[in-house]
C-alpha cells in the first residue's frame, strides 16, 4: 500500500496528477505541466514535496567511527552545520544507496536517504553499527520541502529572518522559524539550481507549503524534478546507481576515500579500473533518448542508457548512460537504439546545465 505524504491533500487541492513513486503517492505534475515547472525552477522559484525522503538520526561517541566505516566519504572533519554527500556500499562494492549526512553536533548526525531505499538502508546500517551509538529512523515524523530556483531567497525571505539562513552550499541551520514553524534549512537540492531544502515536523509541512505558495513559489512535481536532475547530471539510484554499479564507474570518486577502510573498499580496489563509465549523451538526430536503450558503435554494442528525456527549454534530448571506457571520450559519436530506430548521439561533458553564478 503506497503511503501519503503530509502534503497529499495540498497536491489534490492544486490538481496534481498523482502517481506511485518509491512507495509514496506523489504528484508527477500540476496543471501547469512539466515544461513550465522545469523552466520556473531555472528562472524563478519552485517547490517540491520531498517528504517521501527517508531521515535517520545517528548519535553517540562512536558516531563518526561508524559513518567512516559504513560510508565511502570521510566525516571526522565535517564541520557542525555542514552536509556531505556519500555512497554506502555492499561488501561487493555495489551501492546500497547514495545519501547526504548532516552534522548537527560533535556526535549527532542526520542521514537523508532515498525513499525507496530507506527501509533497506536502515536495516543495513543497524546490522553494521558498532560501539556506543543510537540509531533511529524518523522518516515518518519528518516533512521535507525543496525550494529551488534563482528567486528562492526572495521567496523564503518573506517567511523568515534572512540573516539566519545558511549561505554556503552544503551547509544548514537548525531552529529557523519559517512561516511560524520550527525548521531545519539546508542549502542543498537536486536541480543544479540555487535553493534550499526545508525540514519540519510532518504535521507542520502544510503550513510551510501554503506559505511558500503565497510567497510566490510554483508547485512542481516529480516529472520536473527528474528533468532538472538529469539536466544537472545528478545520479538517481535505480538508474545511474544500483547494487550492480560501483561508485567509481559512476564517476563519483570524489566521495570515495580509498585511503581509509570502509565496507566495500576491498572489492572496489580488486575491480581495478572501471570497464564501463558514466557518460552524458546529446541526441544529434531527432527523437527522444530514454532509459535502458542499447548504445552502439557501428555494429558493436558498447553501452546502455540509464536515464534520458527531452530537456524542457533545450528542445533536445539528453541522456546519461554507461559506455565501455575505450569509447567514452567526449566528442565520440555513437548510436542509440530507440525502439528499433538508430539515433546518433554525441558524448558531451556533464552536467548539461550550469546555474548562473
Amino acid at each position: 500500500m503506497d503511503k501519503k505524504t503530509p502534503l497529499y491533500a495540498c497536491h489534490e487541492a492544486l490538481g496534481g496528477k498523482i502517481v506511485p513513486f518509491g512507495g509514496f503517492l506523489l504528484p508527477v505534475q500540476y496543471p501547469t505541466g512539466i515544461n513550465a515547472e522545469h523552466m520556473t525552477v531555472r528562472e524563478h522559484a519552485g517547490i517540491f514535496d520531498v517528504s517521501h525522503m527517508g531521515e535517520a538520526l545517528l548519535e553517540g561517541p562512536d558516531a563518526v567511527k561508524n559513518l567512516n566505516r559504513i560510508l565511502t566519504n570521510r566525516f571526522g572533519k565535517l564541520a557542525i552545520g555542514g552536509c556531505r554527500y556519500t555512497i554506502m556500499l555492499y561488501e561487493d562494492a555495489g551501492c546500497v544507496d547514495d545519501l547526504i549526512v548532516y552534522r548537527r553536533g560533535e556526535d549527532r548526525f542526520l542521514l537523508i536517504l532515498n525513499a525507496a531505499n530507506a527501509d533497506k538502508d536502515v536495516a543495513w546500517i543497524k546490522d553494521h553499527l558498532e560501539g556506543d551509538v543510537t540509531f533511529e529512523n524518523i522518516s515518518d515524523k519528518v516533512g521535507q520541502i525543496a525550494l529551488q530556483g534563482p528567486e528562492s531567497k526572495e521567496v523564503i525571505a518573506k517567511l523568515t529572518n534572512v540573516e539566519a539562513l545558511p549561505t554556503k552550499y552544503y551547509t544548514f541551520k537548525e531552529n529557523l522559524t519559517v512561516a511560524g514553524v520550527n525548521c531545519l534549512v539546508s542549502r542543498t537540492g537536486y536541480t543544479g539550481e540555487f535553493g534550499y531544502e526545508i525540514y519540519m515536523k510532518a504535521e507542520d509541512a502544510p503550513t510551510v507549503w501554503k506559505a511558500l505558495l503565497e510567497a510566490g513559489a510554483l508547485p512542481c512535481g516529480l516529472g520536473a524534478r527528474d528533468t532538472l536532475r538529469l539536466e544537472a547530471s545528478m545520479p538517481l539510484y535505480g538508474h545511474e546507481l544500483s547494487d550492480k554499479i560501483d561508485p567509481l564507474s559512476a564517476g563519483l570518486s570524489f566521495v570515495v576515500k580509498l585511503d581509509k577502510p570502509f565496507i566495500g573498499r576491498d572489492a572496489l580496489l580488486a575491480k581495478g579500473e572501471p570497464k564501463c563509465v558514466r557518460v552524458g549523451l546529446k541526441a544529434i538526430d531527432r527523437g527522444v533518448l530514454r532509459e535502458h536503450q542499447d548504445i552502439y558503435l557501428g555494429e558493436e554494442k558498447v553501452g546502455v542508457t540509464s536515464s534520458g528525456t527531452m530537456i524542457p527549454g533545450k528542445r533536445q534530448s539528453f541522456a546519461m548512460g554507461y559506455v565501455a571506457r575505450e569509447h567514452a571520450e567526449v566528442g565520440t559519436v555513437l548510436e542509440v537504439d530507440v525502439r528499433g530506430r538508430r539515433i546518433k548521439a554525441e558524448i558531451v561533458p556533464m552536467p548539461f546545465y550550469n546555474a548562473a553564478k
Partner: protein, 126 residues
C-alpha cells in the same frame, strides 16, 4: 474538456475529420493531450504508407512516456503535418487544429463516436 461537433472520435482518443475531397485527417483529442501532458516529440509515418483500421501509425512522446498513435480508419498517408516535428506543443495548445496525418483511399472504418458519446466515454474513464 473540449470536443467539436464536426469531428468523430475513436475509443483510443483520436479525432477524425472527414474532408470534402474524401480524405480524412486524424489528430489527438483534448482529453488525450491533457492525459499525456507536455508533448515533446511525434514519430510520423511517411507519405504513401498504408494502414489498416486499428493499426499503429506512429507514436507520441511526452516528457515522461511514449504512447502509440492508432488510426481508426484504413487508408494511405497522403500528407503528414511536419510542423509538429518542430512544434509538438501545438498538440497541447490546439489539439483540434493540430492534425497529425491525412489519409486518402479510405477503406474500412472502426466504430466512431460523435462528440456527446465521446464525452460520455471520457467521463467514464476519468
Amino acid at each position: 474538456m473540449k470536443t467539436l461537433s464536426n469531428l468523430k472520435y475513436s475509443k483510443t482518443h483520436e479525432w477524425v475529420e472527414f474532408l470534402e475531397d474524401g480524405h480524412v485527417r486524424i489528430g489527438i483529442t483534448d482529453y488525450a493531450q491533457d492525459a499525456l501532458g507536455d508533448l515533446v516529440y511525434v514519430n510520423l509515418p511517411i507519405e504513401g504508407d498504408t494502414f489498416d483500421a486499428g493499426e499503429v501509425f506512429g507514436d507520441l512522446e511526452s516528457v515522461k512516456a511514449v504512447s502509440d498513435l492508432y488510426t481508426p480508419v484504413a487508408g494511405t498517408v497522403a500528407a503528414v503535418n511536419e510542423d509538429l516535428l518542430d512544434a509538438p506543443e501545438t498538440m497541447n495548445q490546439d489539439p483540434y487544429g493540430a492534425w497529425i496525418i491525412e489519409l486518402s483511399d479510405i477503406g474500412e472504418t472502426e466504430e466512431l463516436l460523435d462528440d456527446a458519446a465521446y464525452e460520455a466515454l471520457c467521463a467514464e474513464e476519468a
